[in-house]
Assembly symmetry: C2
Homo-oligomer: 210 residues x 2
Amino acid sequence: MLKALTEQYGYLFEDDLLQEINEVGIYKEIDPGTKLIEIGDYIKSMPLLIEGAIKILREDEKGDELILYFIEQGDTCAMTLSCCLGSSKSEIRAIAETDTKLIMIPVEKMESWLSKYKTWQKFILQSYHDRMTELLEAVDTIAFLKMDERLFKYLKDKAMVNHNEVIIVTHQDIANDLHTSRVVISRLLKKLEINGKIKLSRNNIKILDL
Amino acid sequence: MLKALTEQYGYLFEDDLLQEINEVGIYKEIDPGTKLIEIGDYIKSMPLLIEGAIKILREDEKGDELILYFIEQGDTCAMTLSCCLGSSKSEIRAIAETDTKLIMIPVEKMESWLSKYKTWQKFILQSYHDRMTELLEAVDTIAFLKMDERLFKYLKDKAMVNHNEVIIVTHQDIANDLHTSRVVISRLLKKLEINGKIKLSRNNIKILDL
DNA sequence: TATTTATTGTAACAATAGTTACAATAACTA
DNA sequence: TAGTTATTGTAACTATTGTTACAATAAATA
């Protein structure tokens, strides 16, 4: 674990802190689709992403979802920070998008390190900033883009975090993530294909215009 | 200033910190409509709200606006925190909604207090959490509600922060805040009036169903 | 007061998104 | 292989939102 940790976070944290993380952190490897955090959960530990990507979702009253953004390596989940430090419930759902490697830090440590390590404090504040920025970009996407633009952005983002221009997904999956209906997605995907932006197949979509 | 400060923040901060804020903070009284922060600004000081309300706006590529939320007394602007601590540009616009009293804290102090005062650190982290929550609620509103629901919520929120069930506003103003057109707003307002939710007059709207 | 400007009401239409229904086909399974 | 299920395509329709155009009226100002 120390090797992976040093590679991802060595330039950020001092040796003492890396050593402590190595002692108390729990290393985990997660399969795609695994639910890491559920809405309403009390968070007892905070994930440091070593490898892979996590999809962050919001839910409406009917239980339908909406993707907010993907988190990638080097990131952590600011909502988790927020919940840990305020000991409140999670406002979001987190699902592994790809094979994911992460280190779980217990809440108690998170808090004490804030006073003990300046670099940790800086990291936590920077993470808040990054997640705030990402949330604002999510707002932009939802509020300012039409569904066809949101769809194409989603496809590109998904290709990006999966490091593959072919994404494995059904139209229904996409509709769920974008909080719309399958028919709407099928219709818009067909248009994108006609315009030469993508190539459609059963269960997968190739992004041509990345 | 110390009196107002103690009333709003006395229960949060220790005396030493209150004293420091009193020394370095700059007290300001602001008129409604005054622009406090512009998108792209480098922030040199952080506002502590004593009284009043501030409207936080996001802008699209065309320069059209969208309201994110109102900030009220006891709050601070987490985007500002974020920008100060990361020394990056503001992502949002802030405009005084009402007569507003606030204390401006210089960036340098903000940072040093993080190590010096535990209560300050807690306040900053709590502010991040609050703003994050508020941003998520903004996402809910934009993504999950239809325009008529968003409109009514907006009217109620505005009445709330102005402490008045009669709000002074034109249909065009509302359209700007909600990122839609005046005709759409006029249409939906008329419906709300027919349903007995509001009473329309020139330049003002009375909320009946608060 | 006469004129100008700002605000609101409304019709008519276009564009986008959501819904229902059903057929076609690929993939899986008994 | 036959039957079942999951996925995709498509038509037809509805609902919502956005656009253009113009009239009516209130308010501001010359």
